[in-house]
């Protein structure tokens, strides 16, 4: 019996060299309910595993659409942006560096940047021109009015004191640089930086 066990171990020994990712492909094909650890998921994605990518989409598209939607309010455009976000995740996954942040943080920033790029694009601004002005670059003060149906971070934003709220909105949701904000609001760059930092600290306590 012991000999038999030893023998079977020998026989199966080569399979033990299968790395975690490959093992996951096998187990995942057997069990569709598998959940991945972040490490496994990243490894599979970097190997261009579509099943893992499907899992990623199913689990995170809603959260990423939340942030896209907070920036690009027009629904159809927001959907297009989300499509680009996931295509970019697929394309750029090689460049993801776990030492610099979690996978979700990386994806969230891709989503935010894509949404802001869209917001800044000429086509989107042209589209917005035909709409009644609600929030616009010309009236930064108007941004401060909290919109009732805001969700997520935007909702949290509503609970910040006004001078901080404007700063977070302009920097995080509209993607303006500190310099741009300083110029826009007519306050020194240093003050912008300090206030944004303070706003972020405050924001953290509210999340």
């Amino acid at each position: 019996m012991k000999l038999l066990q030893a023998k079977s171990q020998l026989v199966f020994y080569p399979y033990m060299y299968l790395d975690t990712a490959r093992y996951c492909i096998l187990t995942n094909s057997l069990n569709s309910q598998t959940t991945y650890s972040e490490q496994e998921l990243v490894a599979l994605l970097q190997q261009r595993n579509r099943q893992a990518f499907g899992y990623l989409y199913d689990n995170y598209s809603g959260a990423l659409f939340g942030i896209v939607n907070a920036i690009v309010t027009e629904k159809e455009t927001a959907n297009d942006v989300l499509q680009n976000v996931f295509v970019n995740i697929w394309k750029k996954i090689e460049s993801y560096d776990a030492s610099k942040g979690r996978l979700f943080t990386w994806m969230l920033n891709i989503a935010r940047n894509a949404a802001i790029d869209e917001l800044r694009s000429r086509s989107y601004r042209d589209k917005q021109k035909n709409q009644p002005l609600s929030e616009g670059l010309a009236f930064p003060g108007a941004v401060t009015d909290p919109v009732v149906n805001d969700v997520g971070l935007k909702k949290v934003l509503g609970r910040l004191k006004e001078e901080w709220r404007v700063l977070i909105d302009l920097s995080y949701f509209q993607g303006f640089t500190h310099e741009e904000i300083a110029k826009m609001l007519g306050i020194p760059l240093g003050t912008v930086k300090t206030r944004i930092r303070s706003a972020l600290i405050q924001l953290r306590t509210l999340i």
Binding site: G66, K100, F104, L200
Partner: protein, 255 residues
Amino acid sequence: MNTQEYISSGIVESYVLGLASDEERREFEQMCRQYPDVLEARIAFEIVMEKQAMQNTIAPAAEVRNRVFDEIGSAGKVVSMSASPSGNTGWLKYAAAACIILLAGSLYWNISLSKKNKELRNNYDNTVARLNEMENDIKVLTDKESVKMASMKGTLESPQSYTTVYWDTTSHDVYLLVNNLPKPADSLHYQLWALADGQPIDLGFITDEYFVRKDKLLIRAKNAQKAQAFAITLEKKDRVDVSKPAGQVYVVGKL
């Protein structure tokens, strides 16, 4: 270094939310490598952000998923490994099915060919038989110098009628060729006579079958020992004494 002061400066949030400048980012990444506290604070805020985002999801349009997969194409597609073994047996199944179909087709083909072959064979046999018959008839008329011919012209009773008799003077065989003779009524039939020394000799009847099957060339009659002339009369079928003619003469001819 007092990392707590650094951590609570807002740099963690600034970095995670992507609001830090490039310089701040490089510095923060360096701090993370150097101080586990800073790294822990970063991860803690990342988890807060992730949780927050996961609690505030908005469902995108359903077709976006397909559009994404369409756009990334087939690159990196996972090859299904379970397909190959069942594929092999599948191949055998199809091959076996194909063989059975071919066999059945071949069988049907053979049967129909054999049937057709039989038909052709029968036709051929019939044709050969008829050809032999005709060749024999012609031999009767041509080969023997002893065969005499008598053209039998229509009488006043039936001027269009015309027959020919061939009589072999040695074997005494008699053959009749009907060139033209009207089809008789059902109750009547034609009788062939040899006239020898003024006496009629019965050579037999032309059966109704002849008028149905027109392809028969010569009609074999009874032998005639002696004959100077031949005649055909139309007689009633129910006549008792057939040795003497009773009806109208239709054709008559001398040797």
